[in-house]
Symmetry: C2
Subunit: 345 residues, 2 copies
Amino acid sequence: MVAMPDLSASPRPVITRKDVARLAGVSTAVVSYVVNGGPKNVAPATEERVRQAIAALGYRPNAAARALKKGSSQILGMVVPKISNPFFASLAEAVEQAAEEQGFAMLLADSRDSLTVERRHLRNFIDRQVDGVFLCSVLVQPDIQELRERGVRTVLLNFSEESPSVDAIGPEFAESTRRAVEHLASHGHRDIALVMGLTTGNAPDRREGGWRAALQGLGESEGRIFRCTFDRQGGYEAGKQFLAVTPRPTAVFISSDQQAIGFLRAVQEAGLSVPDDVAVMAFDGSDEAEYCWPPLSTVRQPVKEMAEAGVRAIIGAERDEPSRNQVFDCELILRRSCGCHAEDS
Amino acid sequence: MVAMPDLSASPRPVITRKDVARLAGVSTAVVSYVVNGGPKNVAPATEERVRQAIAALGYRPNAAARALKKGSSQILGMVVPKISNPFFASLAEAVEQAAEEQGFAMLLADSRDSLTVERRHLRNFIDRQVDGVFLCSVLVQPDIQELRERGVRTVLLNFSEESPSVDAIGPEFAESTRRAVEHLASHGHRDIALVMGLTTGNAPDRREGGWRAALQGLGESEGRIFRCTFDRQGGYEAGKQFLAVTPRPTAVFISSDQQAIGFLRAVQEAGLSVPDDVAVMAFDGSDEAEYCWPPLSTVRQPVKEMAEAGVRAIIGAERDEPSRNQVFDCELILRRSCGCHAEDS
DNA sequence: CACGTCTATTGACTCGAGTAGATCGTGCTG
DNA sequence: CAGCACGATCTACTCGAGTCAATAGACGTG
């Protein structure tokens, strides 16, 4: 409660290049060359003097000035629909880490699922001279076009569609889903439903196609679909609908771990059991999938690799490099919810 | 795969104040005055002309230049130990939103529980001229002192200790915990254990004190403590230890929702039931607490309010305003895990 | 010894925006 | 009508760092 009297910030004088130059007895240009391994060489002895002056004064180059001069801020922006959704949190974590390794900082913005807010964030990013942007939801073409015009490299993350004119990175949705559904079938299931999230854009989700393909392979042409939002709440509601259906499907593929967790809750609430009454496979492979009950069998996206590829696509890109799609293979993680191992995790 | 040929970014000429000035037939100063509601007045007719020129050219002031001149970037930095921990994600979400409402952007950095990384991030923030920093873990005094010296307002979030020389914002840990433990007692429990996270600093956590106080009030002077890391994994391990103890306590207070979720899994795995075999109350009140099974009774921190207070502490602060602690009351959320309502949520 | 070569260093301009101080009218007052 | 006040506008300098063209030495060579 009582603030200590004296610790108020002594407004230490700001140290600039000039101060360093004076102390080292050189011109400001040399300081710049030393700091940047600059475009010109500096004699070793001089360099050493400058280094010492820098250390002695605690000089730190002003990033704003640098950004102004170079037109690049060494900042990447990332827009997520909702950071409290653990899947996006894990994406953000991976991107931040990959960015930091390259000396970039990350501006994070949460669009709360609103296109308006997302646009506002993007314009803000542009004004702040970010060098690149990660998007996790689908903006309309014109918006992306503006980003490009302003010289901001853009990468779509977790994106299923091929899209011209912009880099897109995402998991291999269709094939992985097909394998997951086939795995459910290998436990003897035939009536396998789908709980599918609603995408903001109108692009059909490829997971749906994968599920269809698997059913077809089994000779089952019919299958129920439950549509809901891409979060726990949505999964919970889908679960309640699912349980009301007769005859009830014996297994279900769910388009995200978050939804699956909501679904599980609905099943538990009804006093039924997973996997005995309903077998479940989900998509994403986030941490919570391991710590819910029963542990979720899920399709693991290689989040880290995708984030690294994304950062590379932004930083390592040539000025007019054509955009491209990168699709990453996923791994089936088999836990209890599908009917696998009853003893270990 | 095939990139469309023509959409390569046409490197649109950068529009500056000067272009606007020329088009509107005024000097650059006037443009600045209009944009900022500047320190001087502009005649309504002129202002209108400038506005039109801005719109026509699509002019957007360069944030880097502005930051350089004003020494303020309109950016807030936030360092979290791990953004994929949903509690920190929800904090980040709240901070970002509160910041955006004030026109600030948020740089997010993940320290991966490492002091070294955290320091690196902070120096980076300083170089980038952030106007303020949110910290969720405990740095040593000298680091914070440097932030102050550099003129960066600092706010400690989720912080239990009073600390001089820095703003600290946190929930009312002790009293809320006491109430939670007493609630467990109201279900008839007497042997109530504590699962407590390990704090990086050496400050004792006030939740522990609250738990002790409650036991004392019940006439129970003894109580078992299980210490583990502040995450699901830690809670899971603590749960296994807990279950191995005889006689087994009938209830437990757990220092975070994440740990509680791990704990629940250990209980489920052992084929036991919550709340019948063990009643559980946790701390945080994050979303996952609602969607696990059984739904967690927990102490809800007013995250949004705390974030807003934090942003206010940074933005609204006078130059030499003394630092202060702000403690927020929490709310008991009673769900199933403690033994409350067996039917609705 | 004069000249060219090469390297280390410097001075000066630039990026784009904020703003103090000078300037230009206009209209009012004595 | 001179003098003054005041509002609108402009000129010019500044923030801190990057970098090019110019300069100053140092060295070697004919």
